[in-house]
């Protein structure tokens, strides 16, 4: 401080109180204070050096995924139709599988979910932020938020952090007054509405199955099976995906979460169906 005298040190106690207060400060809503790096250090390079491929296994961020979602209409009056969201459950740090039981379908509201692909912590944290925004919106406006609005908020937040190294590839899916909706949102700031959608390292494999077998009108049983099958085949061919398949069925009236299914058990199940032998047999 300029022109400081000895008398000024009486303020020490006050300063100490302020310092203590600042240590325990909680960020105000919607205003996250991220501690930055010292001036002149590039965050993206810094992350790459210390948490990138050369870092220790436990220091790499968790990532890697296959997620998919699609909209379908009921084939018979007995079926509900709606949205199927299916995901795998693997989180990898480099080539190490750091978790095989991650829940990658995150709730945003009663009628809306977001899937998680890319950096696991990024998705978890920002999905929470979106969920809070939606809740506050509904309290304020006394009406349900649309999927479009929620995903737009999500995309805007991510766009604000563009170029700083966030890695998010999320699908916001849910039912609102316009019907079933899926929006794909990513950390580049991209946002688009899709009927059939897949994100993650195994997405190409999942698309292969989805594009082959998807029909606009399906029974619930067919639709769920398609979700499982696409995830199973993606986990079979993509080393970044695996574990169990979590499936969420959003119908016009409710959100049904199905119990997790082990993908290797699914493999045996589907292998019989396509009459392929499960054990390796050398040619004699």
């Amino acid at each position: 401080m300029w022109g400081e005298t000895f008398d000024d040190f009486e303020n020490d106690e006050v300063e100490m109180v302020n310092a203590k207060k600042n240590l325990m400060i909680e960020p105000a809503h919607n205003d996250f204070t991220f501690q930055g790096l010292p001036l002149g250090i590039q965050p993206v390079d810094f992350m790459k050096t210390h948490f990138g491929a050369t870092a220790g296994k436990s220091m790499q961020f968790r990532k890697g995924t296959t997620t998919l979602a699609f909209v379908y209409e009921p084939a018979t009056p007995n079926d509900k139709g709606g949205i199927i969201v299916a995901v795998d459950s693997r989180a990898s740090s480099g080539e190490y599988i750091s978790s095989k039981s991650v829940m990658k379908i995150l709730d945003i509201g009663d009628r809306m979910v977001a899937t998680m692909a890319g950096g696991a912590a990024d998705c978890q944290f920002w999905t929470r932020t979106v969920a809070k925004y939606c809740t506050l919106y509904e309290l304020r406006e006394k009406t349900n938020i649309t999927v479009s609005a929620a995903s737009k908020y999500f995309a805007n937040v991510l766009y604000g952090y563009k170029g700083q190294g966030l890695s998010v590839g999320s699908m916001v899916a849910g039912y609102d007054k316009k019907g079933p909706q899926i929006f794909k949102v990513d950390s580049e700031g991209d946002r688009c509405s899709l009927k059939v959608c897949s994100v993650g390292s195994g997405s190409l494999n999942a698309y292969g199955i989805l594009d082959n077998h998807f029909k606009p009108k399906m029974t619930d049983e067919e639709a769920r099976k398609l979700g499982l099958r696409a995830i199973m085949h993606a986990t079979y061919r993509d080393s970044g995906s695996g574990g169990v398949c979590n499936l969420c069925h959003i119908t016009p009236t409710e959100k049904i979460r199905l119990p997790p299914m082990d993908v290797s058990k699914l493999w045996y199940e589907f292998a019989g169906e396509i009459s392929r032998d499960i054990a390796y047999e050398p040619v004699e």
Binding site: M47, H50, M59, F61, R62, G119, A121, Q164
Partner: protein
């Protein structure tokens, strides 16, 4: 042993060959030994790694946390043989962290002060579920300058059940039955997957129940195994046992010291 990892087979072989030739041209124009090493030296590094491993197992009415007590500099030199890597935050929350010890201390201090504040505000101890979320968010607030730590939070939750929460350095949170972090994580986890997760057993086969005695034995054995083959793990096991309705017990057990 000698193999290159990381290049995955691509369907587009010609394209890959093209980029490989491009890389060859670039490298021979400017080989590594002329430049990169000097740049590497100048990089700013605020972190160091103090080695060691930590592990936590939860059961029906208990949670067990263990870590070794060795602290290492540069993977080689031993700084101390009785470092405390497990912090008992209150009667039902235990935090254990591996990684950069400076960040470990800072993180502990932040959590302790927040728990203290909570006690004043609500006149009750924080539950482990709440603390887990708090830790996750505090880790994420340092998204662009992360804590260099692999944290595990364990304890007894509001229903009297054991809880283990596992984190990555920027706060990806997950509740698990068991978790490990640190240098020997890739050795301990497969062992626990086999003995607690029973991933290798046939479905019809009888699986031993996870009693507290069995969990403690598995915990000890996993550290004994890690100390055999992982150089920065050793000296002592710091074992912390939390059982629902009972005070937290702490124990130290010997490990090999070489």
């Amino acid at each position: 042993m000698a193999c290159f990892n990381g290049i995955t087979a691509s369907a587009d072989a010609t394209n890959q060959m093209h980029s490989f030739k491009q890389a060859m041209r670039e490298v021979s124009a400017k080989p590594d030994w002329l430049s990169a090493r000097h740049i590497e030296r100048q990089r700013w590094n605020p972190y160091s790694m103090e080695g060691g491993s930590t592990c936590a197992i939860s059961g029906d009415n208990f949670a067990i946390v263990a870590s070794d007590t060795r602290m290492t500099a540069n993977d080689i030199n031993i700084l101390t043989r009785d470092a405390e890597k497990i912090q008992v935050l209150n009667d039902s929350i235990i935090l254990t962290t591996s990684g950069f010890y400076g960040d470990v201390l800072q993180l502990t201090k932040v959590l302790q002060s927040r728990l203290h504040k909570y006690r004043f505000d609500y006149r009750a101890d924080m539950s482990v579920d709440l603390c887990a979320e708090l830790l996750s968010r505090n880790l994420y607030y340092r998204r662009f300058f992360p804590y260099y730590t692999g944290a595990i939070l364990a304890g007894i939750d509001e229903h009297g059940k054991g809880a283990v929460f596992s984190y990555d350095p920027i706060g990806c949170i997950e509740r698990l039955g068991y978790s490990a972090s640190g240098a020997a994580e890739p050795m301990i986890i497969p062992f626990l997957d086999c003995q607690i997760g029973h991933v290798t057993l046939d479905e019809g086969y009888e699986k031993p129940a996870l009693t507290m005695e069995r969990a403690i034995s598995l915990m000890k054995d996993s550290f004994r195994g890690a100390a055999e083959r992982e150089i920065s793990t050793g000296d002592k096991i710091h074992l912390v046992i939390a059982e629902a309705g009972k005070p937290i017990v702490q124990k130290f057990l010997p490990l090999r010291e070489d």
